[in-house]
């Protein structure tokens, strides 16, 4: 019980610290939201009109009080679950905006992350299983080669090839300009069509980390005594690889995956940017460049909670998957 109280205490402390940082860091950046928005509107080679900045400032409603006062306000609104009105999408509320992007991000990035993890882990396991054979080389080197190509570069290449040259898929967007979003089959298939290229690009670069990680870990576990005994027991090699190699080797990857899932938002900025895909990542980037504090704070809160919960789950899961961590030793 005490243990859980302590865990909960640290969890709360982390949450509080993160929320505070979410408040503080954006405000420490130089630049004022109104100026940032107008500057972006105008472009770099046109003079900024002070009157326009003043109007925008008025529109956004200048924050009241000093930083401490603002912080208190921020905490109290958070406590009430209010996120306020977005600066970038004024007068739409932050909640509304997040509602717009959430499903897209979760669908695209969530699905590809899971797929990447599964594919990466399987390929890595296969490579370890056929260690030092051609399969190993092809998998590791091949995936390194394509997987480490700079993402935006790779994405552009895909667009150039499949969208511009071959015209198989649309260049970008979450759905066609002509379709109307809704839960219809037509819209769904349209959305899927649009997600092929972004998903593909994510799937190319996604698995590499899992592949190498899995391979290395599994090479180790396959060298252990229990794997050797399993061989003597006449377990088929694939079976050994799975329950004796992979099962144990996958553990560090599970932790990694949990964190990666929690951090989905951060990783999706680029893909959404390049493919003009609707989603929270791009929104976040925009919020940061526009100093859109309310939107930023809400998104970061999402990330914070996501990562913390994922972390917590990873810890719990680890205990389940690897009973050894429960063994007691006085340091």
């Amino acid at each position: 019980m005490r243990y859980f109280l302590r865990r909960a205490g640290f969890f709360a402390a982390t949450l509080w610290a993160a929320i505070t940082l979410n408040f503080l860091i954006p405000r420490l950046q130089p630049g004022d939201p109104a100026e940032a928005i107008v500057q972006r509107l105008r472009g770099q080679s046109q003079a900024v009109d002070p009157a326009q900045v003043a109007a925008v400032r008025k529109m956004l409603g200048a924050p009241e009080g000093n930083l401490l006062q603002q912080y208190a306000d921020y905490l109290s609104t958070l406590a009430r679950g209010e996120f306020g009105v977005s600066y970038t999408y004024f007068p739409y509320s932050v909640t509304h905006m997040i509602g717009q992007g959430l499903l897209w991000t979760v669908a695209l990035v969530g699905v590809t992350q899971i797929l990447s993890f599964v594919i990466g882990t399987l390929l890595g396991a296969w490579a370890a299983y056929r260690r030092n054979t051609r399969v190993d080389s092809v998998i590791t080197l091949g995936s390194t080669f394509v997987g480490t190509l700079p993402f935006f570069w790779l994405a552009l290449l895909l667009i150039y090839l499949f969208a511009v040259t071959l015209n198989w898929f649309p260049e970008g967007g979450g759905y066609g300009g002509g379709s109307s979003p809704g839960w219809t089959w037509l819209f769904f298939s349209d959305a899927v069509q649009h997600s092929v290229l972004p998903a593909l690009s994510l799937l190319i670069v996604g698995p590499i980390g899992w592949i190498i990680g899995m391979r290395n870990n599994m090479v180790q576990t396959l060298g252990e005594d229990y794997a050797r005994l399993a061989r003597a027991r006449g377990l088929s090699r694939p079976r050994i690889a799975l329950t004796y190699g992979a099962r144990i080797a996958v553990l560090p990857n599970v932790t990694g995956f949990a964190i990666a899932l929690g951090g989905i938002l951060g990783g999706t900025v680029l893909v959404e940017q390049i493919f003009n895909y609707p989603g929270l990542g791009r929104m976040m980037f925009e919020a940061v460049s526009n100093r859109d504090y309310p939107l930023m704070q809400a998104l970061f809160l999402f990330i914070t909670i996501g990562v913390l919960v994922a972390n917590f789950l990873a810890d719990v899961l680890y205990g389940v998957l690897d009973p050894r961590v429960r063994k007691e030793v006085v340091a």
Partner: protein, 607 residues
């Protein structure tokens, strides 16, 4: 045709950047259907290697450099994986020497049974329970993870696994090192019954002379990679043909005897990476002739078997040169260095609490040895962990030097405490860091506790290796643990524990993997240290003979409780508790009588 035919088998380890080691050298033998063959031999002489070669489980850098292994008509040395796989376990199964380490740590014991059945498309049914019963384990073990089991329990699980598919041939590589004699006896008896009913053959590698002699139809003795003697057990007991065998037998004594003394063969086995002219045993042979140094003897029929000796069975009776006698008459005296009071240890698992230690109290005194014997799983290792501060007791206290509460130490103080207390781990396969050389492992305590400079620590490490019989030390210093045999590792673990010259030594089955000869030597070494340096020692063992030889006092543990205690001689000779008596009665007794019916004595045995 015999079930297993080994011909001219040679195995060489050719590690990169090291001299090749011919661990198995032109070995040939047969094992007939249903036969129980014992394999004795000096620690490090190639027994495990031979076993692995027979199973085709050698890993690089070991390679079969010659000969064939034919099992049931299939040449194992050349068969491909697809031929071998169905054979494995269904026909040939094994218990590794590192059996405590060979269970998958992240799945339950039950799942590992299930795996095995599934791999051969069998329905496990109640079989797993029956098997566990066979090795005297509760069915509840099925739900546990390996790390929740004691060393002996893991070993028994491994044994049960080996029998799971009723194979025709089982290779047991020291499968009972972690078992108390009672359990061991029960299991071996069942094994014998099982063998009678199912008729499988066993190749039994062990250092436990008593057991081997009692169980085996035929015994082979290995020395320096070669088979030096091969005889029916009874015949060997009555008339060993090879001087080395004779030496081994001399290292055995019945602990219940009024006066005991064990002999050992002084000297060290030859370096297997060098070429040897002549008889490999010659340098240690008390009866060596001049020509032994130049002529390499062949394995030739003699007596009721075969031997590799120029004297060919005509070995004269000569006393071996080393002998170690029990000299521990009275009860220990002097103030206690370490006191355990009412120690209790509970483990909370997912299926309730296990009480591993239950109200144990005892003292360790300077210059005396307290032996802890008892059933496997009775909490001996747990006690050792409590005493050394690795774990904390659930209740009770551990007091060092009158005022140090070991059960409350942490950080710096715990570290200081460990300067005085050392532990020899039960499982030498887990206790050595696979990535660190022996020199490193040994020099750490020297550098930390004794403050030796680098070069000196290395010299001292070498000396330590020598004292535990790893010679030439320069050969071993830069080796990694996986390049050692089980017994060699065990000796490294002992050497490491001795290195910092501790006041208290807790040794958990320190000699279970050693051959009787080196065992006697190590015991003598420990005895000397205890006596000369005034070490207090907690000696955990299943081997009552060694307890008799070394200990002043014996505690008998059962289900976490001390059921009997007293001076060694008293406990062993006039046991009061029924369990103690059971223990003593279970000591294998190599009977000199010939086995009822000699099985297949001859055959084409090497050249």
């Amino acid at each position: 045709m015999a079930l297993l035919e080994v011909r001219d088998l040679s195995v060489t380890y050719s590690p990169r950047g090291g001299a090749p080691v011919r661990a198995v050298d032109r070995v040939g033998f047969d094992v007939a259907e249903g036969e129980f063959v014992g394999l004795l031999g000096e620690s490090g002489c190639g027994k495990s290697t031979l076993g692995n070669a027979v199973l085709r489980l050698l890993d690089k850098p070991a390679a079969i450099t010659g000969g064939t292994v034919v099992f049931d008509g299939v040449d194992v040395t050349t068969a491909d994986d697809d031929t071998l796989r169905p054979m494995r376990w269904a026909k040939v199964s094994t218990v590794f020497q590192s059996s405590m380490n060979s269970l998958n740590p992240v799945i339950t014991v039950g799942a590992q049974f299930a795996d095995t059945f599934k791999a051969h498309s069998l329905d496990p049914g109640e079989r797993a329970r029956e098997l566990l019963e066979l090795v005297s384990l509760e069915p509840d073990v099925l739900r546990r993870y390996p790390h929740e089991l004691s060393g002996g329990m893991k070993q028994r699980v491994a044994l049960a696994l080996a029998l799971a598919l009723s194979p025709r041939f089982v290779l047991l590589d020291e499968p009972t090192t972690g078992l108390d004699v009672v359990v061991q006896r029960t299991i071996l008896n069942r094994l014998r019954e099982l063998r009678a009913s199912l008729g499988f053959a066993v190749l039994f590698i062990s250092h436990d002379l008593g057991t081997v002699m009692e169980m085996a139809d035929r015994v082979m003795v290995m020395y320096a990679g070669e088979i030096v003697e091969d005889q029916p057990a009874g015949a060997m007991l009555a008339g060993p043909l090879h001087p080395y065998t004779r030496g081994l037998l001399g290292s055995y004594a019945d602990p219940r005897a009024p006066e005991i003394s064990v002999d050992y063969v002084p000297g060290r086995p030859p370096d297997l990476s060098l070429l040897h002219e002549g008889c490999r045993f010659a340098p240690r042979c008390p009866v060596a002739l001049d020509e032994c140094a130049t002529t390499h003897p062949e394995l030739l029929p003699a007596g009721r078997g075969a031997t590799r000796c120029l004297l060919a069975g005509e070995v004269p009776e000569t006393a071996t040169r080393g002998a170690f006698a029990a000299a521990r008459p009275g009860a220990p005296a002097g103030p206690p260095v370490l006191s355990v009071r009412d120690a209790v240890k509970d483990y909370r698992g997912r299926h309730g609490t296990t009480r591993a230690v239950d109200g144990v109290s005892f003292d360790l005194r300077r210059g005396s040895v307290t032996a802890l014997v008892g059933q496997s799983g009775s909490g001996k290792t747990t006690l050792a962990r409590l005493v050394t501060g690795i774990e904390r007791p659930t209740a009770g206290s551990v007091v060092f030097d009158d005022d140090v509460r070991v059960d409350r130490l942490r950080g710096r103080r715990l570290k200081d405490y460990r300067r005085h207390v050392q532990l020899v781990f039960q499982d030498p396969f887990a206790a050595l860091n696979p990535t660190r050389t022996l020199a490193y492992a040994l020099s750490r305590p020297l550098r930390n506790h004794l403050g030796l400079p680098v070069a000196e620590a290395r010299t001292r490490s070498a000396e330590l290796l020598e004292t535990v019989g790893l010679t030439p030390a320069s050969q071993y210093l830069d080796k990694l643990p996986h390049q050692l045999s089980g017994g060699q590792r065990q000796r490294v673990v002992i050497a490491r524990a001795l290195a910092p010259e501790p006041q208290v030594l807790v040794a958990d089955e320190p000699i279970s993997m050693l051959d009787v000869s080196i065992r006697a030597e190590i015991l003598e070494l420990l005895d000397r240290l205890v006596r000369e340096r005034g070490i207090a020692m907690l000696y955990i063992t299943h081997d009552l003979l060694s307890a008799r030889l070394l200990a002043d006092e014996v505690l008998v543990l059962r289900d976490g409780k001390v059921v009997e205690r007293g001076p060694t001689l008293r406990v062993i000779r006039q046991a009061e508790h029924s369990y103690t008596r059971l223990l003593l009665d279970s000591i294998p007794n190599p009977s000199p009588a010939l086995p009822p019916e000699p099985r297949q004595a001859a055959g084409d045995r090497g050249r």
